[in-house]
């Protein structure tokens, strides 16, 4: 619970043994890279799962070569069973939401750059930091273990709705050991995330270098800070929810299971619980989780875009205000996931209004980003393109939120592909675009080498067009009433929609293949990329005031003093068109 000694914490001599240096490292930079590596592994698994699902949806009778080796029961002769499809879907959702979207933009880049951006040597509690990574990693191993238990991974979706997730094996395959591992993994993940959130908040509040007032913090730091606050409260609810779920599953309690249920012809011995209770607890976490995934990317884009636009971000105060407003409102809207869930229909209106109100700060953020592009002298590097792409997909994904926030339309669109399109655009694609922008932007700092811009641009164009080909048609499917989470389409009106699914599948395979360019670029540049200068993009924030990569204590024993905000681009009358945060020169604003 307590750091036993802070003397150890602020030791300056870097560790020399391989294990202390690369595995159980206390260095936030190493931990950040570890998170990034974990997210990369997870996103690869998650993407392959989505490929398998997409192929099955478009061509359900095709045997997929080798799939029977992965699971002989789940895919006899390579043809997926309905439950295996649901297993893959559950694992895709869980892995992507928890181990990619929570880890990559927040934990990975936040760990690496938050301390540097505020001029600190490390996080406030390096040992906690190490613990949070290894806790998260354990959670990941437990989750992956679900692939290898007898009847496979759980089939209850990433939302694990009770009682499907709570009653055990009678509810179907994958709901015995697989679901146990799922619940345990998520509980462990919560602990890791809570530790991380504590650390982020304490670091941001307490370790800012001289002159780094809150208003001078870069937007990315602000976003990580707000995200940490959201995590601190959100995971604190998911943790007990998961523990109660585990109790229901293993200790015979009935928190989420009402009486008189008959599954597999067996009257269940549970009584007295409430199904909606799980939904309330889950979505109280689940909706803020959406902002945990997207806010860091918003912050990253707000941080990166001005660098390439060569002009300050429009409305810095409004930007930060909007982030805080989104974080605050995210706790009042969970019920919009439950409009048709059987909760009191009056409350639908109560949840609908704040949900629609969230669109106001989101719109402001988008408009400010667009306004920043206005009149800019844009440098179209790969990270800049990903930032612009982010704005585009964020608009596309945000717009559909207007539909889903209204209960009267949700009666038609709920649980259709419209929802799938919405959250993939606004939460997954937008967030991942932020991660891509961040990777291309910060890679030189992290590894001291530049990434290939040519490959990067190929990657961008294929991905940008690809995601529109995948997710835009899903809106049309949703309008036609195509239900999500179906492993095959047997209803008459759904059979008519299969050609659209084939188009989406081809687009998904192509877009997925385009990610290999990114992977190649990442690995190739790590060893062969041109050596990066300290400030290749002419940025102002503190990470550009140190070497690439930064030394063990980030600034080589120097104590940075900050004189400016992070936003001084396009400044006239100075040597360059920008002023570093560490530069003491006076800026004359005209």
């Amino acid at each position: 619970m307590h750091e036993t000694s802070e003397h150890a914490v602020h030791q300056h001599a870097p560790p020399t043994s391989f294990i202390r240096k690369h595995i159980f490292s206390l260095d936030h930079k190493v931990i950040g890279k570890q998170y990034y590596g974990l997210a990369l592994l997870a996103v690869f698994i998650g993407m392959v799962l989505s490929w398998l699902m997409r192929i099955h949806l478009a061509w359900p009778t095709w045997p997929i070569p080798g799939l029977d080796k992965l699971s002989a029961v789940g895919a006899p002769a390579g043809v997926m069973t309905p439950e295996y499809y649901l297993s893959l879907m559950t694992m895709h959702g869980t892995i992507m939401v928890f181990f990619v979207l929570t880890n990559a933009p927040f934990a990975a880049f936040g760990n690496y750059f938050l301390p540097i951006q505020i001029g600190a040597e490390d996080m406030a509690f390096p040992r906690f930091n190490m613990m949070s990574f290894w806790t998260t990693f354990t959670a990941f191993l437990v989750m992956i273990a679900a692939f290898f238990v007898t009847d496979g991974p759980p089939i209850s979706g990433w939302t694990a709705y009770a009682p499907l997730s709570a009653v055990g094996k009678d509810a179907g395959p994958g709901l015995a050991m697989g679901q146990n591992l799922w619940a345990i993994s998520i509980a462990i993940f919560c602990i890791g995330s809570l530790l991380g959130a504590l650390n982020f908040i304490a670091t941001t509040l307490d370790l800012r270098t001289k002159g780094m007032s809150l208003s001078r913090m870069p937007y990315s730091t602000w976003a990580w800070f707000v995200t940490a606050v959201i995590s601190l409260l959100a995971f604190a609810v998911l943790l007990p929810a998961c523990i109660l779920l585990i109790l229901d599953r293993t200790a015979g309690t009935s928190f989420f299971i009402p009486s008189g249920l008959v599954l597999s012809d067996r009257l269940q011995p549970h009584a007295g619980g409430s199904v909606l209770l799980w939904q309330h607890l889950f979505w109280f976490f689940g909706h803020p989780e959406v902002y945990i995934a997207i806010l860091p990317s918003i912050g990253i884009v707000c941080h990166i875009l001005p660098v390439f636009a060569r002009k300050p971000l429009l409305g810095p105060r409004a930007t930060i205000g909007c982030m805080i407003a989104i974080g605050f409102l995210s706790y009042m809207v969970w019920g919009h996931h439950m409009f048709v869930s059987g909760m009191n229909p009056f409350s639908a209106n109560l949840f609908s209004v704040p949900t629609l109100i969230i669109t106001i700060p989101a719109t402001i953020l988008t408009l400010l980003l667009i306004g920043t592009v206005y009149g800019a002298k844009m440098r179209f590097t790969t990270p800049a393109l990903f930032c612009l792409g982010f704005i585009s997909v964020f608009i596309s994904g945000g717009i559909s939120g207007f539909f889903l926030a209204q209960p009267s339309l949700d009666t038609y669109l709920h649980a259709t592909y419209f929802v799938v399109a919405h959250f993939h655009f606004v939460m997954a694609v937008a967030s991942i675009f932020g991660v891509f922008a961040a990777t291309y932007f910060w890679f030189p700092k992290m590894y001291g080498r530049m990434m290939s811009d040519t490959l990067g641009k190929w990657h961008f164009w294929l991905t940008f067009i690809g995601v529109y080909c995948i997710f835009m048609p899903m809106h049309y499917l949703g309008l036609a009433g195509n239900v999500r989470r179906y492993s095959a389409f047997v209803d008459d009106y759904l059979i008519a929609l299969i050609p659209v699914h084939k188009f989406i599948t081809i687009a998904a395979l192509a877009t997925g293949a385009a990610q290999l360019i990114f992977l190649f670029n990442l690995i190739w540049s790590r060893f062969r990329g041109p050596i990066a200068p300290d400030n290749p993009w002419e940025g102002t924030s503190l990470e550009w005031s140190t070497t690439s990569p930064p030394p063990f204590d980030n600034f080589g024993g120097r104590h940075m003093v900050v004189y400016q905000g992070p936003n001084e681009y396009g400044v006239e009358g100075t040597a360059n068109d920008y002023v570093m945060q560490t530069s003491p020169e006076k800026i004359v604003t005209g």
Binding site: P60, T61, V73, P76, A77, V79, M80, T81, P82, E83, Y84, D151, K169, G172, P173, S264, D265, R266, A488, V490
Partner: protein
């Protein structure tokens, strides 16, 4: 309707008892035959609405009925398993596997007797995915789906048990695996008759099992190659 029962009966008798007994040199030549009937008003078998699975619905000209109390002319009671519960247990499991079909969203046969450790092959003959979930308590429970065109599920049971089988996809699909220690068994046909052959001389307890009503037993002693008769009467209720 009638022909379907005959087919099912033929499959049951052929696979379940007759063939296995004839496939080996009979250990004895005694036999027990008889008829299973009911008294009282049997419950009305309900038509099964298969409209949610059109590929199955169109295989049946008239709706299929539930089979939990299947009756025939002359108060005959079908799908009753008659077996030797005490006495000579006959031979061990033959190498020939029993076959269980899923056709037209029905289990064929409705009641499938087999011996401990005898092979069991489950086929999906439909154009839709089925799920086989034998609700065993003594044997290990499993629950597998079988997409159309996938290979047969090959399995066996190593302990005697009466196992209800259900399809988790089509809730009306219900059947029974009857795993027996003995090789002396038969299933009553549509006329209620059964025939257990190849019994060596000795004292036997013959038990008749029906899925909904309590099982009944009779003591039968066979000397030489006697053909004994044992009739069973189940008391049924309309509800």
């Amino acid at each position: 309707m009638r022909s379907r029962y005959f087919t099912a009966l033929a499959v049951a008798v052929l696979l379940g008892s007759g063939m296995l007994v004839f496939a080996k040199p009979p250990a004895g030549s005694g036999s027990i035959t008889g008829k299973v009937t009911y008294t009282g008003t049997p419950p009305k078998m309900k038509p099964i609405d298969m409209s949610k699975e059109p590929s199955c619905a169109k295989q049946h000209a008239t709706p299929v009925l539930t089979e939990n109390v299947a009756t025939g002319p002359g108060n005959a009671l079908q799908w009753v398993v008659v077996y030797i519960s005490a006495g000579d247990q006959g031979s061990t499991a033959p190498s020939q596997a029993v076959r269980y079909d899923q056709k037209g969203c029905q289990y064929l046969p409705h009641v499938l007797p087999m011996q401990v450790d005898q092979g069991l092959q489950i086929y999906n003959d439909d154009q839709t995915s089925h799920n086989i979930h034998p609700l065993s308590k003594i044997n290990a429970e499993w629950n597998k789906s079988q997409p159309p065109g996938s290979p047969a599920i090959d399995t066996k049971y190593d302990k005697p048990e009466f196992i209800p089988v259900k399809c988790n996809i089509h809730p009306w699909m219900h059947g029974y695996f009857i795993v027996l220690n003995t090789s002396h068994y038969a299933v009553s046909g549509e006329d209620g008759s059964f025939d257990i052959k190849g019994l060596p001389p000795g004292k036997y307890t013959v038990t008749a099992w029906q899925e909904q009503y309590p099982a009944q037993s009779q003591e039968v002693t066979i000397s030489g190659s006697e053909a004994k008769t044992a009739n069973f009467v189940f008391k049924v209720l309309p509800y």
